[in-house]
Symmetry: C2
Subunit: 301 residues, 2 copies
Amino acid sequence: LKLIILGSGSATPSLLRNPSAQILNEADQNYLIDCGEGTQIQLIKYKIKIHKIKNIFISHLHGDHYFGLIGLISSMNLAQRKEPLTIFGPKGLDEIITIQLKYGQSNLHFKLDFVAINCTSALKIFENEFLDVTAFPLNHRIPCFGYLFSQKGKPRNLIKEKLPIDISVDEILKLKNGENVLDEIGRVKFNYLQMTTQQTYPKKYAYCSDSAYYENIIDTIKNADILYHEATFKEDLINRATFTHHSTAKQAAKIAHLANVKKLIIGHFSSRYHDLSENLEEAKATFTNTMLAIDGESYEI
Amino acid sequence: LKLIILGSGSATPSLLRNPSAQILNEADQNYLIDCGEGTQIQLIKYKIKIHKIKNIFISHLHGDHYFGLIGLISSMNLAQRKEPLTIFGPKGLDEIITIQLKYGQSNLHFKLDFVAINCTSALKIFENEFLDVTAFPLNHRIPCFGYLFSQKGKPRNLIKEKLPIDISVDEILKLKNGENVLDEIGRVKFNYLQMTTQQTYPKKYAYCSDSAYYENIIDTIKNADILYHEATFKEDLINRATFTHHSTAKQAAKIAHLANVKKLIIGHFSSRYHDLSENLEEAKATFTNTMLAIDGESYEI
């Protein structure tokens, strides 16, 4: 599971940082999270293959999070894409994209599906053999959703010398899935902890942009391996953060601490900040294991 | 009158060239012509003030000519713009922009007007004290318009020693506007050619993108000081040019020659061309005074 930051900026355009966009790479698939203007150029710059993007997750309909989407879709079509594409995001995205395709008289060569996200609490919205994705409401000026990407556990490894000769295939599958095999009256016949091992554990990545400080998300993102949380401002501008429904670096760090995540990445920086070292220090004072989102950088999860 | 190229590329995104956008600067106003994705970043990069853009001219609704518009409008609003903005372009642009502002819950602090261009022959669509703008149909896959920017003549300079003492203010204005002053029975009383001089002559800039080879435009763009004409391909791909309703470098040069323009700038280059020297040579063989559009370069008209 690898995260690549394509844009760590916020709404005001800047030569320092691109608007929000990220790639989560898992099992040779690229999951695109938000898609600000210019994202398709960032994808080319960092040599990320767009045909490996099958699912796109848009947090909300402020332009710095989705204005690059129509250009990316158009380019996929120009590149003769045939594979279906699914876009998850708030209601309205369907209408916005469709009207632009209509006036451009662009007939897509591929199937484009929209899934409107409209949940008031955490809701699983996507599942394949590798990942689950859960959407959850953030606290912003317009409907805005965070996304939790949870890797599925791989089957456990059997300890062959511990298996009885007469074990059935069904019983083996149960053990590999981390379940005990029970006898007729419900007693443990084979204990999966004794007969299998787990070499990797499933990872979790939580994406939270944009949001005011919002403790309601803590249960959902609890124990995530990486939390990306917006930190548009520093604490000296907390009033501006509150007014615009954004967070400070300290607030992002407080959420990371309360949610007991392993690592915090802060991003969505206001264009007023050229040097981000103070933003990082502010977060680290509350949550030590914090990193800055930097355009083009990769983070192993 | 100064032209600044912000993007000389075509639909397939490229690290070499940005999609179509240009600034025509006259009398401290910036006229924006087309607005592909990323135009607002190009404006920042080349230090062009967006508050001096009062009028935007969009040729057609293929994305590489307008996907940057909604981002630019949003940024103008973030920057607390108060001055009205007028956008000229094909029908549909109003709907596309309005729906995105609606879902972003963006209330504009300035007046945004749309003028739908729908002419079947050359039509004056804009006029102020410095410029006239004429729209004219091009030949593309969807409705597409060229724009001719015609500088207005400045008032002529008086030759003071030739003016009679008793000349009135009204008579002086007539002479400065290039009109003779007549007496009661219609004879020339004061000849403007004898009493005034003209130091500059009004310039014309014609913008033609995207279009197949199309001689119908020649009358409108005749004698322009600069013609920008798309030249997506070289002549070896003339079949592809014809099929996609684009032009080759040679065809652009032929139009320049037939229209007797002073200078040709070719642009809208396919992303397949890294080195453009052959494209330039191909055009120059037919029309010597040809230049390449290069992102960030300025051209005095």
